[in-house]
């Protein structure tokens, strides 16, 4: 049993089209196959630890889709790792992905609950013992041992309702799930 989240009149405008999202739920209930999406990103090495990711097409709704334009994400490592520090490190990009995923979720949940947002800011930190990636100790994992997200949300709602926005956005977040739960990852060479 639970208590239903109060749905307020949709006077709030956070720029999220919740009606469309709810409509999509109805459509996918009828046609679950259309809900199967495949996202992709291609990556090309430049030099050293520098690489560029190019993102455009994805598959979903039973067909291929092109984006409005091609997006790029560059990556590198900082100088302390003997790199040139031309772009964010891959783990930082993961932290950014988590923050963006949760932030989009906060906006969508707030819209659905009729809560007007004024600002949403977050700081994400990930702790890493780099002896793991340097192969110095098999007991130390490569990845983050802990990730913390701290939101500052200014909205027309009680502190409890604001806390519920952050909680519900985690419940529905793709990246939060990817970081919290194991995934099948296969890497092959063509």
């Amino acid at each position: 049993m639970t208590i239903e989240t109060p749905i307020r009149p949709a006077a709030a405008d956070n720029g999220v089209n919740t009606e469309a999202l709810i409509g999509a739920r109805g459509a996918f209930e009828q046609m679950p196959a259309a809900a199967q999406f495949t996202f992709r990103s291609s990556c090309a090495w430049n030099t050293g630890t520098q690489s560029r990711n190019t993102i455009n097409g994805y598959a979903g709704l039973g067909q291929e889709h092109a984006r409005k334009r091609t997006f790029t994400i560059d990556s590198d490592h900082p100088e302390v790792f003997a790199a040139e520090d031309t772009a964010a490190t891959p783990p930082e990009i993961v932290l950014a992905a988590l923050a963006s995923c949760l932030t989009g979720g906060v906006a969508a949940v707030a819209q659905h609950r009729g809560i007007q947002l004024h600002s949403v800011r977050s700081l994400v930190e990930g702790d890493m013992d780099v002896r793991g990636i340097l192969g110095m100790d098999p007991e130390i994992r490569n990845g983050f041992s802990a990730i913390r997200v701290r939101f500052e949300i200014d909205a027309d709602a009680s502190p409890e309702d604001i806390a519920a926005l952050a909680a519900q956005s985690q419940k529905r977040s793709a990246v939060f799930d990817m970081l919290c739960n194991p995934s099948q990852v296969s890497v092959s060479v063509a």
Partner: protein, 411 residues
């Protein structure tokens, strides 16, 4: 083949309530029961289990507990006696030891095959319960050999467990009760907890069920719910009927020495992998509990039921700072896994096109097909539809509908 106007399958609280409501309306019927009256309560519950609802809340059409201890909780033999008494009181026409093997559509009604002959009926009420089988996640297949697997339907008491660690998967009423009992028997216990519903047993001088009753929360109709599919699959409240006015939440289990981990996400290479999202599942449970307490406080404020202790807010769930992400199941420390991961009804004998893509029975407020009804499923018509206390109203609705349909056909 025998012929009858209405058949009821199952002689638990749902089937007996249906029988009572049919009798009150003069509708000829028979109740088929695979075993004995209250069969699941007799044979498919663990030894120490007591109802999670207090005695006063065991209300069925024409029958109530009425014993000297309204705030007590019935043990299973008492539940069996209570339902036997109900059947006797209403002279329910129960045919015991009659197992239904197949239901088909014939003409304007249904053919019901059993291991003791066949029946034809115009109306059929499915009252076989919501908990016939335990749901077990697919990852169970990856458990290392040498680990015993149990479901709550097979668990009786800690004495049946091998010495050593026990992983209890699931933090609903069942999971928290089993974790507490097995820990108290001296086993090392890890509880894998995903989304869960935290509530205090006792609040502002009364049982939580009393507040849910008088605020009308239990009576919430399905039509007033935003996402019915979601509320139908909610885990049960973390409650125990042991008479102690305490929480049986993750904090209490931790204090009792149970290790709390996140949802069991996978079993890989002999290792159980737990979700790193435990803190959020706990935060959601705390928020929802406080919303429930707020609803109760608001009701008390508006209705002034008398002098009561002041509102109370409880400490957030004591989430471990670094919950375990991995347990080695192959190392010998763990000997048993208990899947407290929910139950499902079993309508395998229903040879009708009435199931959705996931195999669940499709129904609209208990109406499955013309003349075919179901009772006792979660949030069937109201929040308390799957409780002893809630099935009576649904049974009355079904009986009234059968009577009305008979009137229309006769006219």
């Amino acid at each position: 083949m025998k012929s009858i106007h209405t058949l009821v399958i199952g002689a638990g609280q749902a089937g007996l309530a249906a029988s009572r409501c049919l009798s009150e309306r003069g509708i000829e019927h028979v109740v088929l029961e695979r075993g004995e009256i209250a069969n699941s309560w007799r044979h498919e519950r663990w030894d120490s289990l007591r109802l999670l609802t207090p005695n006063w809340q065991s209300r069925l059409p024409g029958h109530a507990h009425g014993g000297p201890d309204p705030d007590g909780f019935m043990a299973m033999p008492e539940v069996v006696r209570f339902l036997e008494g109900y059947a006797a009181l209403g002279r329910a026409p129960v045919e015991e030891r009659t197992r239904v093997t197949r239901v088909r559509r014939i003409g304007g009604g249904y053919s019901v095959e059993t291991d003791r002959g066949g029946w034809a009926c115009r109306n059929l009420i499915l009252a076989t319960g919501a908990c016939n089988a335990a749901k077990i996640p697919a990852c169970a297949a990856a458990l290392p050999s040498g680990i015993a697997q149990l479901t709550p339907l097979g668990y009786r008491n800690p004495a049946q467990l091998a010495p050593g660690g026990v992983l209890v998967v699931g933090a609903s009423a069942t999971g928290v009760q089993l974790a507490a009992e097995i820990r108290a028997a001296g086993h090392e216990v890890t509880l894998a907890a995903g989304a869960h519903v935290r509530v205090p047993r006792w609040y502002r001088g009364r049982d939580i069920q009393r507040w849910m009753d008088c605020t009308g929360l239990h009576d919430t109709p399905a039509a007033e719910v935003d996402d019915l599919a979601r509320v139908r699959r909610l885990p049960s409240l973390q409650l125990a009927g042991d008479g102690r006015r305490r929480f049986l939440d993750l904090s209490a289990l931790r204090a009792a020495g149970v290790e709390i981990a996140g949802r069991l996400a996978a079993i890989r290479d002999g290792q159980a992998l737990f979700s790193g999202g435990l803190a959020n599942d706990c935060a959601l449970a705390d928020l929802k509990m406080n919303r429930l307490l707020g609803t109760i406080d608001a009701w008390i404020g508006a209705n002034e039921p008398g002098p009561l202790p002041p509102p109370e807010r409880f400490a957030p769930t004591a989430v471990p700072e670094r919950p375990r992400l991995v347990h080695d199941l192959a190392g010998g420390r763990f000997r048993t896994v208990i899947w407290a991961t929910g139950f499902r009804p079993d309508f395998g004998w229903l040879d009708l096109p009435v199931f959705d893509a996931k195999g669940a029975l499709r129904h609209e407020g208990g109406h499955v097909l013309p003349g075919l009804y179901v009772l006792g499923l979660p949030f069937l018509r109201r929040r308390n539809s799957a409780l002893i206390d809630g099935v009576g109203a649904d049974a009355a609705h079904v009986a009234a509908h059968i009577l009305e349909t008979r009137g229309r056909l006769a006219a």
